[in-house]
Symmetry: C2
Subunit: 409 residues, 2 copies
Amino acid sequence: MSPQRRTGLGTNQEAIRRHNLGTLLRHVHGAGQMSRAELTSLMGLNRSTIAGLVGELESLGISERATPPEGARQGAGRPSAGVRIAEDGPYVIAVDLGVDRAVVARVGLGGRVLQRAQAPVHSHGEAWQVGASVAALIRTVVEDAPITAALVGIGISVPGLVRRSDGLIRLAPNLEWHDVSFGGIVLAALGLDVPVSLANDADLGALAEHTRGAAVDTDELIYVSGNVGVGAGVITGGHRLEGAGGYAGEIGHLRFNPNGRPCHCGNRGCWETEVGAHAIAEAINCPPDKVAQLDEILDGFDKPSPALRATGTALGQGLASIVNLFNPQMVVLGGYFRSLYTLVGAEVNAGLADHALPAPLESVTLALPGLGSDSPLLGAAEIALEPLFVDPVAALGAALVDVRGRLAG
Amino acid sequence: MSPQRRTGLGTNQEAIRRHNLGTLLRHVHGAGQMSRAELTSLMGLNRSTIAGLVGELESLGISERATPPEGARQGAGRPSAGVRIAEDGPYVIAVDLGVDRAVVARVGLGGRVLQRAQAPVHSHGEAWQVGASVAALIRTVVEDAPITAALVGIGISVPGLVRRSDGLIRLAPNLEWHDVSFGGIVLAALGLDVPVSLANDADLGALAEHTRGAAVDTDELIYVSGNVGVGAGVITGGHRLEGAGGYAGEIGHLRFNPNGRPCHCGNRGCWETEVGAHAIAEAINCPPDKVAQLDEILDGFDKPSPALRATGTALGQGLASIVNLFNPQMVVLGGYFRSLYTLVGAEVNAGLADHALPAPLESVTLALPGLGSDSPLLGAAEIALEPLFVDPVAALGAALVDVRGRLAG
DNA sequence: AGAATTTGTTGTGCGAGTCACGGGAGCGAC
DNA sequence: GTCGCTCCCGTGACTCGCACAACAAATTCT
């Protein structure tokens, strides 16, 4: 969260520098590489100011000077030097906790996945067991990190409700977890003390798609995630919509059909009972223990069955409610909705067009994730990197160097 | 909209001053009067900086020095001088366009209603006719304004969909308007050229309740407005949720009962068909032409009928979907929902508790508007005042002095 | 090859907030 | 009543960040 959203505080010169340095880094992070001239026009600051900021970033070891990038201006004039994320710069650990597997990656600024590992996770496993597996994956992934590179933090994507204030997992239905302090568990298993951020997988999917996926330059977007549960991550005004407790986006339990099937939440006919993984599995006669691989199974289809087409219509109709409520510019369909939309896109579009109001409908686009199924993972990297954009100097000061040594000791 | 939300730009010193001056004014505006010491601790700036800012505000004629306010610190020590909104300071015109009447007020900083007038409006009247009535009311209300006081702008609350980019009224079902540039119509009728801002009534209700109503210090709130249509204004992270086009918050057409009554939007069983004014009027045998006064009629009841109780349950159940989606800290029930909640609050609460998820439910409070039925009007004043908080000097420079003279000439 | 264009570099200046000091205004104790 | 305490105001020197201007450097165009 950028400090600018804290309303009411004044700004002093120290804050300017922090903000400008962080904003510059955010730009370089977003584009991977840019020229100083681009930065000058993007940020609206003087050339010499940009030069000073870039110099500070270089002296921090975050960025390095590069030859002018490819897509640079054509024409006369001295070419502008490039600013590029440093090879041995700071990095974060991203964890995508799925229902049946955990993916862990070491991710550098610019969103580059430097190392990656994954392992199956016992469904309904105890939290400490899962924590131990994740810790082991983290050890693997940190193996080849340069000894000088600093670990800024760990970001974890969770399929469930995460409390914003402290990252407690309030409820992860498909892991059968309840009030689990998973961040603490992982840190304890590692024996490290670094900042850990947890958030809902759909929220992080939205964040990643906004930063470097299908929704770059789109400040109003919703990432609808079909995992075993159905959830949404909302970005509005370029910021995550979190809600008071951090639970915003629970679209799975929208009232859809009051005479429908009972839902595990206690109501009847929640949207999830129509478009959730179990409903779809039933529609395609998929055995219940394969529900976690629903996306792959759907990818195997080449022609949709009538039942699947009905599901597509229900998906579109539910999306209509969401479009009416949030008036997004883009809706990204993640998880198995990606596969489903590929199959029955026409039905989804029709359901949406029939049930949404004309005004919000005209400005919305349905899209597939630009990052494939990595969106939540890269979103986890983004929240872990966030402190660097708020205050690069402070975040780097708090970061951990020689992680391998510390893990060994 | 505070400039801080524009991400990506750098900050220079000029922007600091603008921001600090605007933020200081926003604080004084919110509290009406405060001491410099309070401002110092609120804004986290140095005493002398605050003194400089306050001095600038005074020299602009916006604020004036006052004796220490009542609620000041008790005990030893020199009392801190007060900062108070100036009597003859800048003001705005706020317009609340209802289905059957228009209310116009002259509102000063601090939210003080200085003058007020209203007139019935012909339902289904032509836009230019309504514009002429509103212009006449504005002339009345400007009558006694000090000749030195500056008019900063006009804010208009509209019962319909307003396009964010240019304030065009895309659709106001109950006025039967369609793509009406009402701001231009009013300005033409006045023969003035001042900034005009238009927004949806529920959005403005939320804004006003957030600034000086029931939801002060609540950064996640939803104002649910029952007028002839049902809409919502959402504030999240302290900012209005507008959506891509400005149409966010259309909760009236949430899918509620797919086998229900047909809705004018083309679907069946939208929430509005269950809790909208026409549904309630039917439930209490109120003649259709009195629908606009539904709140007063409901206030006349002392015992709710079973039909009304069922409506209360439906209201609560629909609110549950909203609470699940937005995870607000407070839901304010405006319009006739205020009267309805007073009658059948128990049913509303029960419907909400039954259908909302536990996590979002535990942090939400239902509340009545702290500003009564004036919320949209005062919200209209707030958007018109907004430029003053972004850049007081510029906004005052663009403001109009001697309005009466200009209107006469 | 020279002009035109665009950018990097350097030094100067302005402006905004901070800091430190002296003075002022109430409160409370003796 | 006076003194001390506490908190605040007001003023001037100080620091730091950005803007500006002039010059140097690196290309492209003619």
